[in-house]
Symmetry: C2
Subunit: 457 residues, 2 copies
């Protein structure tokens, strides 16, 4: 699957056209434009606007849409929208949300609003909300809808149809994203799935037990969202049952939530490589951004000074041969670039559950070989350039050896560091690059300047 | 949504346990293990194995699963599995695949196999395959299933039920992932969607036209997969109709394909930052990896030598004050780190269609401000350290100014480069980092060493 950058531009202008149109609109036009847009589109457009304009247009979003828009907005921008909304409006906006959505929002809502929402809820809804709130939001329990429709295995499909029509008469419709019904036993334990596709196509006198799917295992409520997402991907699911520790059915996770999980995971991996959170708001207040990014800069600065200290150990050598100062960043950066290739590959492998102790040694040997071969090839190029440039072939030789050492070093660190970080509970996507840079800078400078001190002086 | 690294380890060991169990199994145990696994799991496990073992266990995968496993495997590993399989087995394995899956595989299959598959296909399947093959695989047309079930708006829901039961009698079941039927007019033009949820719950004497959904627009076959994925995310869809230029219904895209698109996009963005393809095989032949990675190393090497050349212009200055050589990598790397934060934020914004000419100026001003503030804060720290270290406060001042300049430079380049790259049709995730590093190295070294030459000598 290739991303086509030109297609991306075309798409981009389309969504951004909405932004432009909104900005050029007078109040009543803005109202009409926002009324035509879906909540997710409104969320996108608001996030693309600087703060003052964002809050201005937020006013025009109908209360009936505000709840959904908040759900679709990244945490940081969401907090601002919430802060700019009166308790009364907030309460009206979030009241109609699904329990899992509401549970997500609740920690960001003012206490007063939460109290108000709970006070107006009927007992069933309140209980459903409490069920979801028991579980962290990155688990199956936190993601689940609690409105699963359940049937019994000994019912006929004709009875199921009558049951569903009855629900519609009573509630005006079925819950959203129903593609399957859950089959439970007398006391509510999960037994299997019944797809609507079977309900509509199997003869009405057949029993549920004759067509129900038994080979899709339910997930436990505490199963991580990541793992549930893998399951959806691997089995092409649309929904799955969520059960408690004793196999009682408590809800279902649907694919629309999983799509968001997968998107967030992708965003998160990318953002963490730059020490950013996936919920970062492009137009967050400057003071906030300054503070957050400073943390990352200081972490990296420590790296920088360690490298500087290593260089400082060889100041006498550099004084005698300035060419070393000219070439040393090349040694460090080549190790860093090669190492980041290994690091990226291994980090992805960890995320896909394809790298572990089971194959670490083979992977390491492979990466070391690739590093060694590329090191030798690169050494030939760089030492040729350096030899001609400085007319000093001993220097060129030292340069070549240092490059080889640092490429092998990059492969070593790139393979082992992400595993090690994961083991101590640190996200390798966040910290892997920092550790790698430190290692390739230190070893790069040390091997080049150290060898030079030994050989050249 | 926070990824929990410890949970990730637990997950990881689970999948990797399968790898271990397989490796320790004798042939009949391996057979049994693989028979128990789903195609996607088999694909994962095979990808986690070094080549020789991978090909060994591939033999044990049943012909009935081999086709699905190939579909779930990344391109590079897939090519090897295909190369290691006889034409006869391949043909039997891919014959039962869906037309969109088959279309994806076809370019990698040997001509002989393609010819064999086509020869054995009935006319309807061949025509469906041809329909899908007309469109690139990163478009709605390339992703679509061509087995949409169609009904007419003036039919009653009772008639629809009878129609669906008839299909089941004839074909043994409905097509996979059917959650909606497509409503078309007399000549096959798309009119709307009818959800199975309505089919099962609305009274049988109601007409399709009374409940069909008209407000979900179909997508054109040439719409990019990325855009279709956005639509699924924004509207929480399970399937959508695909139409040709004249609005004739030609197929449907289902969410299981979209889940893969989103996952691949995420993988792709991460892998491209290291110049890797998302289809890269961890255990590809070493010679192949050496060649591929060399390209990226050479691109980055050019950067390295440009930076070295800049340093070389100031060799006389460095000779007089070696402390410059010690500190200069700090200036370059701080600009690079700050710039990569901006770059990452802007690249994500472009991917989410939230950055464009519409808000570029505001974003640029914001990033420049953040860069300036952080530059000043960082300059205070680094110049303090340098002043104490070298006992030279003029040097410390020059260092401080260079750091500020390079952080602002990083913000400038990080904001403008991804937009510019996209404009000329280059993926900013791939090339953004290279250009940024070149810019922050050159400006970092030049400003620091240049200022030092002016002020200190």
């Amino acid at each position: 699957m290739n991303m086509n950058p030109r297609a991306a531009i075309a798409n981009s202008s389309e969504r951004l056209l909405q932004v432009n149109r909104l900005r050029e609109a007078n109040d009543s036009q803005a109202n009409a434009l926002l009324a035509d847009m879906h909540p997710a589109e409104i969320a996108d457009v608001l996030e693309a606007l600087p703060q003052d304009e964002r809050l201005h247009f937020w006013e025009f979003v109908g209360v009936d849409k505000k709840g959904e828009v908040l759900i679709e907005t990244h945490d940081e921008a969401r907090a601002e929208l919430i802060a700019a909304t009166s308790a009364k409006v907030l309460q009206a906006a979030v009241q109609p949300l699904q329990p899992d959505e509401l549970a997500d929002l609740m920690e960001q809502l003012p206490d007063k609003v939460v109290a108000g929402v709970l006070a107006e809820m009927d007992a069933q809804r309140k209980q459903r909300l409490e069920t979801v709130r028991q579980f962290p939001d990155d688990t199956a329990g936190g993601l689940m809808d609690v409105d699963a429709l359940v049937v019994r295995a000994d019912a006929t499909l004709g009875a199921v149809l009558r049951y569903l029509r009855g629900i519609r008469r009573r509630d005006g419709g079925l819950p959203e994203h129903i593609d399957t019904l859950m089959v439970v036993d007398r006391i509510g334990r999960y037994e299997g799935l019944l797809t609507l596709s079977d309900v509509v196509s199997v003869k009405p006198d057949k029993k549920v037990s004759a067509v129900m799917i038994r080979d899709i295992e339910p997930v436990k409520a505490m199963t991580s969202a990541t793992k549930v997402a893998r399951l959806f991907e691997d089995r092409d699911l649309v929904s799955i049952a969520v059960v408690d520790e004793d196999d009682y059915l408590i809800g279902r996770v649907t694919v629309d939530d999983i799509v968001d999980v997968i998107r967030e995971e992708g965003e998160r991996s990318i953002m963490s490589t730059a020490g950013l959170d996936e919920d970062t708001d492009m137009f967050a207040p400057i003071a906030k951004s300054v503070r957050r990014r400073m943390v990352w800069l200081v972490v990296n600065l420590i790296n920088g000074f360690i490298a500087a200290w290593v260089i400082g150990q060889f100041d006498a050598t550099i004084e005698q041969m300035v060419a070393l100062a000219v070439l040393m960043p090349v040694v460090a950066s080549m190790g860093g670039v090669a190492g980041s290739q290994t690091l990226t590959l291994v980090t992805r492998g960890l995320a896909l559950e394809q790298v572990g102790y089971a194959n670490l040694m083979q992977l390491l040997l492979r990466e070391l070989s690739v590093g060694l071969f590329n090191g030798v090839l690169l050494a030939l190029i760089v030492s040729g350039v350096a030899g001609v440039w400085f007319g000093n072939w001993v220097l060129a030789g030292v340069f070549a050896i240092a490059v080889i050492i640092n490429l092998v070093n990059g492969a070593l660190v790139g393979t082992l560091v992400p595993m090690a970080l994961l083991r101590v509970g640190i996200d390798p996507a966040l910290a892997g690059g920092v550790v790698l840079t430190a290692a390739t800078d230190v070893i790069g400078f040390f091997s080049f300047l150290g060898l030079a001190t030994l050989v050249l002086l």
